[in-house]
């Protein structure tokens, strides 16, 4: 099997950009590396504003933006800030985390197919959440683990799956291929667990658990957004800091070692960061399928770099989640959970990646 896999979509040479030096650090900066995140950010703001405006009580984009900066009137302020903003903010944060985590995994495994969806992480989170819903009767009034209990259980489930993935893959370092295969095994165990929990549930609980594991932004409040924002405030800067070693890791273990990377430490840090990001993202909105898979691939095509850019991936993830949510709420005849739309986009893309990857005799 050829191990010449690269997360890059094409083999055109990467044009080096202008070198920027700040104190002891230096970086090569190309205009697309700046332009793509900026344009994505602008689109994200626009889509978020439209999303906050749509609903039973339509509000114009201008009014929404005015309200957001504190110039709105009373009822509009309540509707935008209390009712609609949490949903959009959770969507942005979740997309951000999934996009960055996907970029981390794909660069690290040198394989565009390594995503939390195929690695069993989101399945672990789903199993945790379903256990919380089913075992405590999430729909029954007065359940101890109500609103915040389910995200907490999902978090525990994802971290547990991540820990298992890490320990079972570890054999004097982490091999990208082994990571993917162990992930598939965990995925199927997690699914078995979910299926079993669902057969033991009341049908109402099973139905609400099913909506949860599809990934939905319905009924999000600031209570969901705050823990997520706190976690991202810690994990995102760390991830961006890790991107320097990532650049070395993508050349393969031996080269990375030769470039002076402490391999074990760097691999551990990257995997743990990515697992942490996924865990919090899933606990916030359920496992929104395939965002982490598609987004880094789009981002790397747009920036034309040698690997998925972290920041641009994160912003595009946010755009994808919020945009898909907007589409499911407004365009589709029935208000489906956002995860169904992202899955409908992402899964065919995954298959296409497989077919196309084989053609080039790399993975």
């Amino acid at each position: 099997m050829s191990v010449t896999a690269s997360p890059r979509p094409d083999q055109r040479p990467v044009r080096s950009g202008r070198t920027v030096r700040i104190g002891p650090g230096s970086a090569s900066l190309r205009w697309r590396d700046v332009a793509v995140p900026v344009v994505t950010l602008a689109a994200l703001v626009l889509v978020s504003a439209v999303s906050m405006g749509r609903g039973d009580f339509p509000i114009g984009v201008g009014d929404v933006l005015r309200t957001l900066v504190g110039l709105g009137d009373g009822p509009q302020e309540f509707i935008v800030l209390e009712l609609r903003a949490p949903r959009v903010v959770v969507g942005v944060l979740v997309g951000l985390a999934l996009g960055v985590a996907g970029a981390l995994f794909q660069t690290f495994a040198r394989n565009p197919l390594a995503s939390p969806d195929t690695l069993g992480l989101t399945t672990g989170a789903s199993a945790g959440a379903v256990a919380a819903i089913v075992l405590t009767g999430g729909t029954s009034p007065g359940a101890v683990l109500g609103g915040l209990g389910i995200p907490a259980a999902a978090l525990v489930g994802a971290l547990l799956a991540g820990l298992l993935l890490f320990l079972l893959t570890w054999r004097a370092g982490i091999d990208g291929f082994r990571l993917v295969l162990v992930g598939i095994a965990l995925w199927s165990v997690g699914n078995a667990l979910i299926d079993w929990l669902l057969t033991n549930a009341e049908i109402y609980d099973a139905a609400s658990a099913y909506v949860w594991i599809t990934g939905s932004l319905n009924a999000r409040t600031w209570d969901h957004a705050v823990p997520l924002a706190t976690a991202l405030a810690v994990l995102l800067p760390l991830s961006l800091a890790a991107s320097r070693t990532l650049g070395a890791l993508q050349f393969g273990d031996n080269t990375a070692r030769g470039l002076g990377v402490r391999l074990a430490g760097a691999q551990t840090a990257v995997v743990l960061l990515a697992v942490g990001l996924v865990a919090f993202a899933v606990s916030g909105a359920g496992p929104i399928a395939f965002v982490a898979l598609i987004v880094p691939q789009i981002a790397v095509r747009l920036t034309g770099g040698s690997r998925p850019p972290l920041l641009a991936s994160g912003l595009m993830g946010a755009l994808l989640v919020v945009g898909s949510d907007l589409v499911t709420r407004t365009v589709l005849p029935e208000a489906l959970p956002v995860g169904i739309l992202t899955a409908a986009i992402g899964a065919p893309y995954l298959l296409w990646l497989l077919v196309r990857g084989r053609r080039r005799s790399t993975l």
Partner: protein, 349 residues
């Protein structure tokens, strides 16, 4: 790989000892299947002594409660378990042989996901509720899944490798389950029927299910046995096999037909059950060697014993309730799979 080609003279004594070993394995597996079948009939929520079981079996008119339980619940369930285990064990061996892929398994390769989608569609659109109603749809879905996974996994030059097939299976499963979800999220009634099917269980399937799927499994088994010698040649690589006079496409078509019949029938009867097809061929290969003429029947027997054993285990650990056989097998099979992946270097799989 053992073949009839070019056996040096000094190994003349070896086939005889190998033959003895294979016969011993066959006898051992038969004894194991009988033992597990007896356990499956005797053990359950209500303990029934072996003497009582025997009387119920020989005397068809015995009307005690125990006799009715044995005849109407336990015997059909055991027969179904044997059939399905046989089918899955043989199907796994064929899949691993045809793809020369140690990670071949109907559950992992997306075949059962295809069946799942077909079942959900039949429940949701046509209002079918009983297993005997949606058996046929599971069948069609399994066939579609098999063809799709191999088409995707082997697209382009280089053909299918273990990794691409496993990934194609995972990707296809993810896509199909996403579609399943889209239907179930807005359809509580379908979810209520579907959740008991998807878990993979022998419980609540009457004797009529076993009778319905038996002809397909029998046909699949015959095709598998016919296919076995060709698999030995294919194991040497397609070019060598062609040079030795094997018609490649014929062997592939027979193999695909057998896999589809076996997996489709098994999935239709019990729901998706993973890992039997993965674990069994590896264990049997260690006992009989790689000759498919022995590997195929022995894998069938061990598959039956494993599936039934897992079913009995599920009834014992969670008494008086039970753990479905699909769940038990996932927890046995996944560690086995991971061990396999860790032992071999991925590139050498």
């Amino acid at each position: 790989m053992a073949t009839t080609v070019d056996v040096p003279a000094r190994d003349a004594a070896r086939p005889r000892s190998m033959r003895a070993r294979r016969l011993a394995t066959l006898a051992l597996l038969l004894a194991l299947v009988v033992a597990v079948a007896v356990a499956s009939i005797a053990i359950g929520t209500r303990s029934i002594g072996l003497g009582e079981v025997w009387r119920a079996l020989v005397d068809g008119d015995l009307g005690t409660e125990e006799a009715v339980i044995v005849r109407q619940l336990r015997v059909p369930r055991t027969a179904l378990g044997l059939l399905v285990g046989l089918a899955l064990g043989v199907a796994g061996t064929l899949m691993q042989g045809h793809t020369r892929n140690p990670l071949g398994d109907p559950g992992l390769l997306g075949i059962t996901a295809g069946a799942s989608l077909a079942v959900v569609l039949s429940i949701s659109l046509l209002g079918l509720t009983s297993p005997s109603g949606y058996v046929w749809f599971a069948f069609g879905g399994a066939l579609a899944g098999t063809v799709l996974v191999y088409a995707i996994g082997s697209a382009g030059r280089g053909g299918a490798t273990p990794l691409t097939l496993a990934l194609a299976g995972a990707a296809l499963s993810a896509l199909l389950y996403a579609l399943v979800r889209a239907i179930l999220v807005s359809d509580e009634q379908t979810l209520d029927s579907f959740r008991f099917w998807v878990v993979g269980s022998l419980a609540g399937r009457g004797g009529d299910i076993a009778w319905q799927v038996a002809p397909f499994i029998a046909l699949g088994l015959v095709l598998a046995l016919v296919n076995a010698p060709a698999l030995n040649l294919l194991g040497l690589g397609e070019d060598v096999a062609r040079g030795l006079g094997q018609r490649i496409w014929l062997a592939r078509v027979v193999g695909l037909a057998a896999i589809t019949l076996l997996c489709g029938a098994a999935t239709a009867a019990c729901g998706p059950i993973s890992f039997v097809g993965l674990v069994v061929p590896h264990v049997v290969r260690a006992l009989t060697g790689p000759d498919h003429r022995w590997l195929v029947p022995c894998s069938g027997l061990l598959g039956a014993a494993l599936l039934l054993g897992a079913d009995v285990l599920g009834r014992v650990v969670a008494r008086p309730a039970e753990l479905q056989v699909g769940i038990v097998l996932a927890f046995i099979g996944a560690p086995f799979f991971i061990g396999l992946v860790r032992r071999t270097r991925a590139a050498g799989l």
